[in-house]
Amino acid sequence: MEPTWVFIGVFFLLAPILAAAPIVIGHYLGPHKPNPIKNDVYECGLKTVGDAWVRFKVQYYLFALVFLIFDVELVFLYPWAVAYDMLPTFAVLEGLLFIIMLLAALVYAWKREALDWYD
């Protein structure tokens, strides 16, 4: 294992502790006088109707699908970019073809109106 990754591992343990410390300190320093009205949901002073944990129309699910395709495929381009010097012309063209296919997918999603935000 590379030492850098040990360092980052230490960081992963340390960062949440550093972020949590002020919150915990604040939790014990502040007063504690809870009452039902204070702990109620704050929605501009109106009486809350029902839960927020309901079935909700996620308008952006098509964006999410397009994003998923793009992000997963773009990660494949990173090794291509790193090894660019060693690539023969054919591999370079292959990479370009890959990007053009991504562009075509984008145009397709665009024309099918998957990238439009509806109410």
Binding site: V10, L14, A15, L18, I23, G26, N39, Y42, V92, W110
Partner: protein, 405 residues
């Protein structure tokens, strides 16, 4: 004063000291890692306190106000007063909230930003030697998105939920141009290691890839959720969005995270496109490199604050159109052009390569401009109020003529 030229001396000295005290070498290494991580993580956290003051002051100046000016000289001690106040505020936990997630969200929001720092090179050979650095940044950079989603969900508040939903739509959309534009410096440097990327910038990458730099910068501002793109907390629409139910120190952690993230975007921009720690004398004295990096990052951060102070918030459909129908196609084209030209121009030397890429970027920009102009012509005429007309009607030459003027 040899540590000015080689900071590794300090580490060596500490190592020998601790081993001299009787610690085993393996344990000493772990202790050194913990100390290093502590230094690297607390540095930015303390720096945030100054950033808060700076941003309030700068935005106040833009809005023709004075900003904080009571506590300490120039109001410099204001953030400390704020921290003290927030520390002693009551920690309200809504009765209906999901307690565990409600606690985790602010921690994740700040930790996700701090975790970006070990991949950043602070000087020649100082930190940031992660072999998949850029991928690491992309992976860890999305943690704060989770924090916002978790916050919005756990609060059990409809406004918070709406804010969280908007955030996810925004973040996933702007992730694509960021990943695409990050590919360009990786391609130019032939490495994902940020130290290598900095070392490859004999000519700053902003010269060879100005469009990629611009796309990265704009998309990153959106990723942080700062003002032109701050739909996640739009005060006038959904009160405060995801952090509506948060108070005291938990609220402060979200904002420390946001401010630090904005500065970190500046640092990343400096590292990837503006030569990182490079500058006169930085090779010999790493401390100077740290100063150059800080200076470049701070200038970029100032631009972010400037943008925040001067742009109005954009609408959600415009926001998504902007990334999917503008930034992403351009980024794809820029990537292709850079890849082809780089293969052709590389044998001709660094200067020619940078210049060629610059010209290519300029040409792409001209084409984009023409495209935008043609789009503009096809759009509906703008809403213009006519004399004697109320409410505002759509302007058409015919109606204008019928009015008799």
């Amino acid at each position: 004063m040899s540590f000015l030229q080689n900071p590794a001396v300090i580490v060596e000295w500490l190592y020998n000291l601790l081993v001299g005290w009787g610690l085993s070498p393996a344990l000493t290494q772990v202790v050194l890692y913990v100390l290093g991580a502590l230094a690297l993580a607390t540095g930015p956290l303390l720096w945030v306190i100054f950033l808060i003051w700076f941003e309030r002051k700068a935005v106040a100046r833009i809005q023709d106000r004075l900003g904080p000016n009571r506590v300490g000289p120039y109001g410099l001690l204001q953030p400390f007063a704020d921290v003290l106040k927030l520390l002693t505020k009551e920690d309200i936990i809504p009765a209906k909230a999901d307690k565990f997630l409600y606690w985790m969200a602010p921690i994740l929001a700040l930790a996700g930003v701090i975790l970006l720092w070990p991949a950043i090179p602070l000087g020649k050979g100082v930190s940031g030697n992660v072999n998949v650095g850029v991928l690491y940044l992309v992976a860890v950079g999305t943690l704060s998105t989770f924090a916002i989603l978790v916050a919005g969900w756990s609060a059990n508040n409809k406004y918070a939920l709406l804010g969280a939903f908007r955030t996810v739509a925004q973040m996933i959309s702007y992730e694509v141009p960021i990943v695409l534009s990050l590919l360009v410096p990786v391609l130019l440097a032939r490495s994902m290691n940020l130290q290598d990327i900095v070392a490859a910038q004999d000519v700053w990458f902003v010269v060879a890839a100005p469009l990629a730099a611009l796309i990265f910068f704009v998309a990153s501002i959106a990723e942080v959720g700062r003002t032109p793109f701050d739909l996640l907390e739009a005060e006038s629409e959904i009160i405060a969005g995801f952090h509506i139910e948060y108070s005291g120190m938990k609220f402060a952690m979200f904002f420390a995270g946001e401010f630090l993230h904005a500065f970190t975007v500046g640092v990343l921009g400096a590292v990837l496109f503006f030569g990182g720690w490079r500058g006169p004398g930085a090779e010999a004295y790493p401390i100077l490199g740290l100063f150059y990096l800080w200076l470049k990052a701070f200038i970029l951060y100032f631009v972010i604050v400037w943008v925040r102070g001067t742009f109005p918030r954009i609408r959600i459909d415009h926001l998504l159109d902007f990334t999917w129908k503008f930034l992403t196609p351009i980024a794809l084209v820029v990537l292709m052009v850079t890849a082809v030209l780089d293969k052709v121009l590389l044998p001709m030397g660094t200067g020619v390569r940078a210049l060629g890429l610059l010209v290519a970027n300029g040409l792409i920009w001209l084409v984009v401009q023409r495209w935008l102009q043609r789009l503009e012509k096809r759009l509906e005429p703008p809403l213009v109020a006519q004399p004697g007309q109320y409410p505002v009607a759509r302007y058409t030459p015919e109606a204008h003529a019928a009015d008799g003027d």
